[in-house]
């Protein structure tokens, strides 16, 4: 029984996948009813996630392991998935392949669960592929749109290439150490050049999924072309899951290589922040804009990760929690506007405040949180990331990060300005979202405010961050 409890998140998600397949095969109900069922199931899934969280243990001789932190991370991903489902109501309502959409989405989620629970390169790799391949298919879910299939093609091609390189790294790592298990790895690591090289190849696999420069080039294209629901899943849930497993592998499996990855992260986080910000400056399409801004955010998370130790874990996980709410809030607003008016450029957002004041505030709060302006949670998240980085005394990195925060502020304000201050002859018409979308946005805003101001969240995560 206890062994089943260890895998309960995975089992629940698998069960939902099969329920959905059943619904599809029998073709029983209309889209709206199916969405009701799905949302109810996802709420149940979130609820189930919070039950019996404090089981710790291993299964399959260490291939699968879980603890409270991992359970909490899975809950975060569950909440994010629920939010995406709520926020995409309008788009999903009319989609011909609704159950399949969720089958793929949840398969991907399941893959992430396996990935962050993995104690072994094999499960890690399988989880990674299970989380990637369905997303590539999902990118194509705007079936009539040319851009959607282009995005899917770019996604599958780049990710196949990346996983080829990742696998090459894993195979070399296996050759030099003789083990695939994360727990056994540290004792075989001796820092020989081939190991360093295979570690770097492995690292690029993470970096690709995290959109770390220079492995980020697919990001913006795929984000722009895909349906917003998929984009937000990619940029929030997928990134979050990679950060979690990244932390585990770096701090545990690759602990003896700390010097290498510390320098690697230092180098790449600077590059990532600078490039992400520079490109975000120029974007007109909101999805593309958010893509580059999320690249810059990843640069920030890397700073926290470079701190190492308990602070590194807790600040990164805490930031991901905030990032889920802030980014989904922003994507939710973009999604709503896009599905009602089809407009996605920043220019078309001009004068939004006149017609949709509440939505404007939601978007503004989310962007402020992404920019790290107090008292939104984003500020606290960035503060803890910076202080985790500062613990290593790397003030150069902190200073560059601070400079980048200014640049990012500049472009976030550009959007806010368009919404509130610029004049527009024909602003986007007043949007009446459904109860689902309202609930989703409300949860995001509450999350953005509460996670920052209610310190218990950080304390809780900090208390879990022991490994």
């Amino acid at each position: 029984m206890n062994e089943l409890l260890l895998m309960k998140s995975e089992l629940v998600v698998t069960a939902i996948i099969f329920i959905l397949l059943f619904i599809k095969i029998n073709d029983i109900t209309s889209n709206e009813t199916v969405l009701k069922i799905i949302n109810a199931l996802l709420v149940l899934n979130v609820g189930a996630g919070f039950c019996c969280m404090d089981v710790t243990g291993e299964l399959f001789s260490g291939m699968f392991k879980t603890n409270v932190l991992i359970a909490f991370e899975k809950n975060m991903l569950n909440i994010g998935t629920l939010l995406i489902s709520l926020l995409s109501y309008e788009w999903l309502k009319n989609h011909r392949h609704l159950p399949e959409f969720f089958v793929l989405l949840l398969s991907s989620l399941l893959g992430m669960f396996f990935m962050i629970s993995s104690g072994n390169f094999l499960i890690f790799y399988l989880g990674l592929e299970l989380s990637t391949i369905p997303i590539a298919a999902l990118c194509n879910f705007d079936l009539e749109k040319k851009q959607s299939s282009e995005a899917a093609m770019k996604m599958i091609m780049s990710s196949a290439f990346s996983s080829g390189i990742l696998l090459f790294g894993i195979s070399m790592m296996y050759g030099t150490t003789g083990t695939l298990s994360f727990a056994e790895l540290p004792q075989y690591l001796d820092g020989s050049p081939l190991q360093v090289f295979s570690f770097i190849l492995l690292f690029t696999g993470f970096a690709f999924k995290l959109s770390v420069v220079p492995f980020h080039l697919w990001t913006a294209d795929v984000y722009e072309g895909s349906p917003v629901a998929v984009t937000s899943f990619l940029s929030v849930i997928s990134k979050g899951s990679i950060i979690f497993i990244f932390l585990t592998t770096l701090y545990n499996a690759f602990a003896p290589m700390a010097e290498v990855w510390y320098n690697l992260i230092f180098l790449l986080s600077v590059l990532t922040m600078v490039i992400g910000n520079l490109f975000a400056l120029r974007q007109q399409n909101m999805k593309r804009f958010l893509a580059f801004s999320s690249i810059a955010q990843v640069g920030f998370i890397l700073i926290g990760i470079s701190g190492g130790g308990q602070n590194g874990i807790s600040s990164s996980v805490y930031f991901v929690l905030i990032y889920i709410f802030s980014n989904l809030g922003a994507f939710g607003a973009v999604q709503l506007i896009s599905s009602f008016s089809g407009k996605e450029t920043i220019d078309s957002y001009k004068g939004l405040y006149q017609t949709n004041p509440l939505l404007s505030w939601v978007l503004t709060i989310s962007l402020f949180s992404l920019a790290g302006i107090p008292p939104t949670a984003g500020f606290f998240g960035k503060f803890f990331l910076l202080s985790s980085g500062a613990e290593k005394g790397n003030y150069i990195l902190i200073t560059i990060a601070a400079l980048n925060m200014i640049v990012s502020l500049y472009y976030y304000l550009r959007v806010v300005r368009a919404i509130f201050m610029d004049k527009n002859e024909q602003p986007i018409a007043s949007i009446k979202g459904s109860i689902y979308e309202k609930a989703g946005l409300l949860i995001c805003v509450i999350g953005i405010i509460a996670v920052g101001l209610y310190s218990h969240f950080y304390e809780y995560i900090y208390s879990l961050s022991i490994f």
Binding site: F197, Y395, A402
Partner: protein, 646 residues
Amino acid sequence: MFDKLTLSLIPLLPLLSFLMLGLFGRKVFKNFSGIIGTGALLVSAGLSLSTAYNYFFVSGKVDGVYQKITALKISWLEFSPGVSIDIGILLDPISVMMLVVVTFVSLMVHIYSLGYMKGEERFSTYYAFLGLFTFSMLGLVMSSNIFQIYIFWELVGVSSFLLIGYYFDKPSAVAAAKKAFIVTRFADLGFLIGILVLSFNAHTLDFETLIQRLTDPNSEYMRSAIAPAFLGFSSLTWGLMLVFIGGAGKSAMFPLHIWLPDAMEGPTPVSALIHAATMVVAGVFLVGRLFPVFAISCPGALELVAYTGALSALFAAIIACTQTDIKRVLAYSTMSQIGYMMFALGVSGYGNEDGLGYMASMFHLFTHAMFKALLFLGAGAVIHFVHSNEMNDMGGLRKHMPITHITFLIACLAIAGVPPLAGFFSKEEILLAAFHHNKLIYGIALITSGITAFYMFRLYFNIFWSKEFHSHGEHHGEGGIVMMLPLILLSLGAAFAGFIPFSQLVTSDGKPFETVLHLSFSVAPVLLGLAGIFIALRLYKTQNDIANKISSSLSGFYSSAYHKFYIDEVYLFITHKVIFNLLGKPAAWFDKTIVDGFINRLGSSSEKISEETKTLQSGQVQQYAAYFLAGAIGLGIIFIYVLTLK
């Protein structure tokens, strides 16, 4: 002692007013919004005054020393072992003084705006923003924790962004709001890193503990903090300098002042509140808050404060002489006066009479709040009347606006340091402190005080005397009782605030001391001030084209000076040729193109780089893969051959 509830109400009332007006203002309260906001602030101001009375005269002093009282402390987050982030209220002489200043000036602005902003479409939004600003400012001054102060510091930034950009249909206002926000945020990040540095050294974020740990030379915290860390400075020095950068940004010190003149695009009462009395002195307050650390442990950082302040004071005063937009004159004047406060802190020592500069700085902060708010509100009345910010459109207004005229004159005399008005006393103390510590700064301060008198009276004469005022169409008088009452109240402050015995109340270590005013010492600054006034009088009281003609061409000056050697021309030569053309114009140019231009160029060049690197994102997935491979191999080469870590 101090009732927690009462104290918390002081900031919470404006917050409540913000929430009410922000959420329901437009629909429910409409035109009552102003009354609600003002009412909330009236109560808040009353509470602050009673708190101040209670603190200074009843229970604040124990054994002859004003205590630091932590009236409220809620532990918000145990951040890492031993370091907790608290939300609290710290009462000490400067925070109590700031409470009074902030609530009083804010109340005046609230009342004044009832008339000034009447009929605005977003009237209730305006009051909501005022409430938010006041709340954040009060939270800032009451903070007991350096992290708390930072949060409110940022909130002040956000709310001032909203207020400056209030006229959002004016592109210049929007640009100014954005600039103010971004420049101050830039500085704030310095502050944030400074906080990180200090807190990592002291292992605390709490002000009292932090100051105690970083001033005790025997503590282990101190030893690690003063060890050389980076570029030869100790991490303590770095921390304090970074914190000062934050303060310099908010307080518009050179070269981070570029946002201040532009910020004048906001409504004039807002300028009175933000850019005269409250937000801009936050930097001074911050340095004052950490003053023991600066003075005892790190005189080097204090030196930086002193020179930055002195440079800003002189630089801004010179530029103020060249401006024709009356609000810009006041903006530069503010920058100059805050420079005074800064260098006063910079030349101060810690404890007893040594702390004269500290006392003087806080004194000047107090008196400056009065007369500068008055000047802005007076300027607002004038702008309201003339519908223009330009000096050239004004003149001869004394008959049309008698109350404004008199109060404005009082303020000008006060800022010029004419006894016995408020500015005289505080300035004397500053000069005295500077005289004892640093002769160079004393000299700069003296010159600046002369220039100050000159440009203030240039402003005064240009507005109220000069030519006759030709009214175009309808004018609606001075603006009624709601606009005049704040002017009168503030002018009382500007006239009599100097008699408050500050050295008995606000000192660096809490112990009162006696100050003596040496009449002989006052002669020089007062004479210089009067000279400045006199020159302005000769030049601007009546319209005379000699001034323009002479200043326009060099040859013109020589011929007329050769043929008719009038004393006027000597003045003119000194003022227009030397100050205006030789110093003022280049300084203004430098300010506009180099300092300000640097930031603009930074923006445009990063957009340019962004434009040029766009080919990186070519849309070709094979090219992406090539970059991917190159990245992987490149990193491999770097980490195996270049960064050999073994």
